[in-house]
Every structure is written in C-alpha cells, then in structure tokens.
C-alpha cells in the first residue's frame, strides 16, 4: 500500500472518481489552472480538462446551486469551498435547496461539498472555523470528518457515491501532517465511528484533528489508566451504537470539539449519552471545546482557545479521579 498524506489521499479519491465515472465533475474557485488553494487538484485540469475541473466565479451560492441542478439531472458534482468559512455564502442553496429536495420533490441530490476547515495556523476568524454543526442541524445533509489518510480517501469515495448531499469536512491542519498507508483504487469507508485506541477506564470522543489531540493527550498513559479514543468519522449519521458501546464499557466520557462549544457536534453526543447511556455513567460527561468566540489571529491567543493536549489531558485526569 502506498503511503499518502491526508491531502494526497483526498486528491487520490477525486482522481479515482473522475477516472471511474464520467458523471463526476469538480467545481470551485481556482481549482483548475491554479490547482486549488491547497493544491488538492494540482494537475487535474491537464488530465480531465476544464469541462470536468471547473474554475468558478467567487460565488459559493452559484457553485452549490449549479451543482444541485447538475445533480438533479444525473451528475455527481464535487464542490470545493476554498475555506469552509465561505460556505455561509452558499448556505441557502445547500440547506434549503439541496437538503430539502428529496423531501419536497423526491429527487436525489448526490453532491459532495468539500470544506477545508479548522484552525491552528493563525488563519484568524475567517479562515479557521469548524462549521459542521450548522449542517448537522439541517435535515437532509450528511456530514463526515476524516482524521486519517485512509479515511480521507475512503470517506470521500463514499461521499461522492452517496445519493444525498454530503459535507466533507477536511481539516487543513492535517493536510500535510498526517500520513498513512492508503489502499489503492476505490474503496468506501462506511459512515460509522472507529475505535482509534481501545481502552476501558475512560473514552475520549473526538473527530477530525481532535482525534490526534486526544491520542497525544493520552499517550503518556495517564497514570496507568486504560483510555479509549473513539473517532466519530461521521457526524450525520452519528454512530450511536459505537458511542453507547464505548460508554457502556468505559463509563467515563470526555468529548472534544474544535468547534465553538454551544450546540457543537460534541453537545449532540453528550445529549445522546445522557439520554441513552445514563445507566452506564460513572461520572459527569465532560466536554472540552473552543469557547464561544471567533478564532483569534494571535498565535498565543489561538492556542489558548483551541482544545490543546494539556487541556484534554487535564480533563481526563480530573474525570479519572472522580
């Protein structure tokens, strides 16, 4: 198996899908000639041409609206938001048109919207957000968030082949930091959670970049405790069975969100555990999340608001001692 970065795995999935299926087209700002802001589609225009790798105007609403129309007539468009923050400009097309099409008219909208998200690189308030919870709150849209190179490829294949609109949250901080062996060719990773590290005393639930924060936080063993790390991978659908299974075995839960705390994905997980995992709990459900403030430019301030290894480790220690 070749070793790919997270970013190369995304490129690989897009290339494989373009080669395998004529209905797949890419749309986005500067994805063609320039190869994308992060070079995910570098060289694609040479192989697949400008009709399938389309440079669009700076208009997210237009990108998504066009994609919805193309999908309704049988295409499988993949839209790139240059930064996930910019999705707010395309919000209405995604939430009200794409998400409700099936319910109103019985039509499938098999579009994938790639959302380069997350902070940690002094990108400031417009280039560092984690807007996944907005779409969790909107019926008709699936949301996935890989943390490894293998899942980056497998989840993107599954997203493109899914008959529903899928928001694919790709974490910018992981693009070149995360590497791993990735199977060649097309494979679909199911929209389920993955036990990243097995344990029995406490489970840390995370997704995206926070999976790596969690793994690092518990890597020193936490005084001999057996800590599990559950990588959600998919936020809609949420893998309730895997979450409740971890809670049943571990009885203590720390949930990490890089997103702002209120109504984040982790809040939904906490609510699920309170409702369906109550009898397994041996302590309060603990959340570690970014406070409800925009992400600051200043590196020390940004480091202070994002959930870091020390905060997660301290939360685990506190809960283990409870």
């Amino acid at each position: 198996m070749p070793t790919l970065t997270y970013l190369q795995a995304i490129s690989s999935a897009l290339r494989d899908e373009l080669r395998a299926d004529d209905r797949v087209v890419l749309m986005g700002e500067d994805i063609g000639t320039f190869g994308g802001a992060f070079k995910v589609t570098d060289g694609f225009i040479d192989e697949f041409g400008p009709d399938r790798v389309m440079d669009t105007p700076l208009a997210e609403s237009g990108i998504i609206g066009t994609a919805v129309g193309a999908a309704v007539v049988g295409m499988r468009p993949v839209c790139e938001m240059q930064f996930s923050d910019f999705i707010s400009c395309g919000f209405d097309q995604l939430v009200n048109v794409a998400g409700k099409m099936h319910y109103r008219q019985g039509l499938a909208v098999p579009i994938t919207v790639r959302l380069p998200s997350g902070g940690g690189f002094s990108g400031g308030p417009f280039h560092s957000q984690n807007p996944e919870a907005w779409f969790m709150h909107s019926p008709g849209i699936k949301v996935v968030a890989p943390s490894t190179a293998e899942d980056a490829k497998g989840l993107l294949h599954a997203a493109i082949r899914d008959p529903n609109p899928v928001c694919y949250m790709e974490h910018k901080h992981l693009y070149r930091r995360v590497k791993g062996e990735v199977p060649s060719g097309v494979f679909e990773t199911p929209f389920t959670a993955r036990v990243a590290q097995a344990g029995s005393d406490l489970v840390v639930i995370a997704y995206g970049a926070m999976v790596h924060t969690a793994l690092e936080a518990v890597s020193d063993g936490l005084d001999g405790a057996s800590v599990e790390v559950l990588d959600l991978r998919s936020l809609v659908p949420l893998d309730e069975e895997a979450i409740l299974d971890s809670v049943e075995r571990c009885s203590k839960v720390v949930i990490i969100d890089e997103a702002n705390s209120t109504c984040a994905a982790g809040a939904q997980v906490a609510a699920l555990i309170a409702e369906k995992g109550f009898e397994s709990l041996d302590g309060p459900v603990v959340r570690v999340a970014t406070p409800d403030v925009p992400i600051p430019f200043s590196p020390p301030l940004e480091a202070a608001v994002l959930p870091g290894v020390d905060r997660v480790r301290e939360a685990c220690r506190e809960l283990l001692a409870y």
Partner: protein, 405 residues
C-alpha cells in the same frame, strides 16, 4: 463560657464489639493530644481477641487528652480519650500552642467514613450493585471524597468466591532459573498482628492435637449440574453434605479441651476465608444445620464479604464446632489442613478436576468415563476419634454429594 469545660468534653470509650466481648486493647492512636479531628474520622485502632477494628471519633473537635496508652487492655466503656468540640475552650494542659486561648494544634483530617444513606452513587454503580445484590454502604470508595467508583464496586464483586470447578490445573514446569546469589530483599519486615496470631493458633493446634488426614475421591457430576442450576457455589453443597454426614456421625462435631470432650447439638460451621496477603479468618455460620444449600450459599457470601471488608464482629468468629476450608479454587488437589482448636476435625475441599474414571453399570460392565472428581480431605484429632470414624464420615459426605439431585 460559664460552665466547666469538662462538662462539655466528649468521651471516646472502648466500644462494645459483640455481646461476648468485655475488653479491648488499644493498638494505635491516630491522633495526639492537641490534634484536631473530624467526627467519624478514625481516632484509634483497637484489637479484641480475634478482630482488629478502627474507632471513629464521636465528635469534631480537638483531642484534649489520651487516657489509654498503646498496648493497654481496658474494659468496654472505659474512657480512652476526650475531645473538646469546636467552640469549647480547652484546659491549659493541652499542648502544644503557647498562644493564649488558641486551641488548634496541627490539623489532622481524614476523609470521614461516609454514613449510610448520605452517599450518592452514579448510575453505573447503582446498576452493578443491583445486578449483584450488593449493599453499597459496604463498598469502600476510592474516588474523590470517598465516592464509590465503578472500579470499586467491580472490585467488590470480584471478591466473591470463584467457582469451585476449574479447568485442569496442569501448567508446564517453569524453566529452572540459575540459582542467583541472594538478591536484596524486595519486601518483608515484622509480621503483622494477624499473621502472628494465625501462627500461634496453628502451632498450638499441631502441638495439641494428634492430627491425621484421610482423603476420599468424590464424583461431583451431580453437584456440578445442580450448582449450575441453582447458581450457588460447590462449597455450599459440600457444607450441606457434611452437615448431613454429621447427623450420622455426630462425634465429628465436637470440641476436645484437654481431657474434656463435648459433642454439640448444633453445627456451627466455620468457613475459612482468605484475606489475601493479610491472612485468613474463619467466620462461623451458627446452626448451619437449619439452612438449605441456597441458604448456606447466601450466608457464605455474606460472611466472606464482611470478612474482606473487615466488618466481622468477634461474635462472628466464635463458637465454631466444625470447619471447612476451601483452597481448591486455585487448582490444588490435596492438603493436610490444621484443625481449628478446640474442634476435632476440619474438612478440606479441593479443586474439581475432570478425570477418566472407571464406571460400573447396573449389569456389572466396566467402562471409562470423564467425570469431575474432587478430593475431600479430613484432618481429625486421633485423641478424640479413630480413623474408621473419619473414613465413615468421609464416605457419608461422598455419598451425600453423589446423591445430590
């Protein structure tokens, strides 16, 4: 303060540890005169004949005087120390502060032992307790503020007896290590009080009794089946079978004190309970002949739990007339147990192991079958009885176990 300070001091007295106990010995003080102590925190440790226990402070305040030194034995009710509750001015005798009117010496707080009904339990702890029928007030808590955590209640469940039946105990011999030069000691020190007492009792028994041991093999097929059905341990069946055998051979259920031999109408059944590294204790189930197999099993569970959580009273370990020891849970197949004086016999119940045995059918034809076999050993005092009686008694136990339905 208008009243005399001594009117308001709280006495710490030697507690009544059981109806038959009249005195106790102070083993250790946890405080010194002048220390602050919280109500319910341990103020001292005491020892009676067989039980060591901790005495909780009756009040929060400052210890004004300690009246009974370590090692001294006093009657129940004797005042061992006095405590000035908060707000009471302590007489000048109290060291060590030289500040006028200042009463507080060094502060020594311990996590108070939580009282029943005042503890809150997490959902998972309550669920596990309900599933295993555990009284949570008996479970020591290791969480914050003495909270009972999931691992605490699970550890408490684990102290339950392991099943009597085990798989083959055979393990390959370890590779012999090259004999090392004497390595530096990794542990040791003075024997604990309990170890010394066990040693004394065992040594005295061997010096007193003419100890012989007789063994018999028992086919446990029926017990194994019934055990699974009733959800009780094999030990309970062995106990019931022994009690029935005692009915036939009551001479086994007796005391021999010097030349005085006393046969007892009731079977007060002692069950040896291992306390791990700390030692061993033999709590007694009084009038065990009145209990069914299930009843015996419940009582065994109860006393084992209380023994391991140090909740036994002296009355729980007195008056035994016959004892069963059950080390077979670890896979051992034979032992020569030492009689619990002044009793005249002790039954040793060992591991149940599947063995090929010769079975004779109704027509007299022999065949080889796989049966769960246990070796029962009886150590008996040759001063009180003879080998024939021991063998007959064992045969009766065997017959009863093989007839379980």
């Amino acid at each position: 303060m208008s009243s005399s300070p001594t009117d308001t001091l709280v006495d710490v007295t030697m507690p009544q540890m059981g109806v038959s106990v009249a005195e106790g010995t102070v083993v250790a003080w946890r405080v010194e005169s002048g220390d602050r102590i919280e109500a319910e925190a341990t103020i001292c440790e005491i020892s009676t004949d067989k039980i060591d226990t901790e005495v909780p402070s009756p009040a929060s305040g400052v210890v004004t005087e300690i009246l009974v030194p370590i090692g001294e034995t006093v009657d129940v009710g004797t005042v061992m120390a006095r405590i000035a509750p908060a707000g009471v001015v302590v007489p000048a005798a109290a060291p060590p502060s030289s500040l006028d009117g200042e009463t507080v010496g060094q502060t020594r707080t311990e996590t108070p032992s939580p009282k029943n009904g005042h503890r809150r339990y997490s959902p998972v702890v309550q669920r596990i307790a309900a599933e295993h029928n555990i009284d949570l007030s008996q479970v020591p808590g290791t969480g914050r503020g003495g909270r009972v955590r999931k691992q605490d209640v699970l550890a408490f469940v684990d102290t339950d007896e392991p099943p009597l039946h085990i798989e083959s105990p055979y393990r390959p011999d370890p590779v012999p290590a090259v004999a090392p030069a004497v390595a530096p000691a990794v542990g040791g020190g003075e024997l604990s009080r309990m170890r010394r007492q066990i040693g004394e009792h065992m040594k005295r028994s061997l010096e007193t009794a003419a100890t012989c041991t007789t063994w018999i093999e028992v086919d446990m097929s029926r017990v194994e089946a019934a055990r699974a059905r009733l959800g009780v341990t094999g030990l309970a069946f062995v106990a019931r079978a022994s009690i029935d055998a005692i009915r036939e051979y009551p001479a086994i259920n007796a005391w021999l004190e010097g030349d005085r031999y006393t046969q007892h109408p009731d079977v007060n059944l002692g069950i040896a309970v291992s306390l791990g590294d700390d030692g061993l204790i033999v709590p007694v189930i009084p009038r065990a002949q009145e209990l069914s197999v299930e009843g015996i099993a419940a009582r065994v569970r109860d006393i084992a739990r209380r023994a391991r959580s140090r909740q036994l009273t002296p009355d729980d370990v007195q008056g035994g007339t016959f004892t069963i020891t059950n080390p077979g849970q670890y896979g051992s197949i034979m032992a020569t147990p030492i009689i619990n004086q002044p009793q005249v016999a002790i039954l040793d119940s060992e591991a149940v192991i599947k063995r090929p045995v010769v079975i004779t059918d109704a027509d007299g034809n022999d065949s080889i079958a796989i049966r769960p076999i246990m070796i029962l050993g009886l150590s008996w005092d040759h001063r009180a009885l003879d080998g024939a009686l021991a063998a007959q008694f064992l045969a009766a136990v065997k017959r009863n176990l093989e007839a379980v339905s």
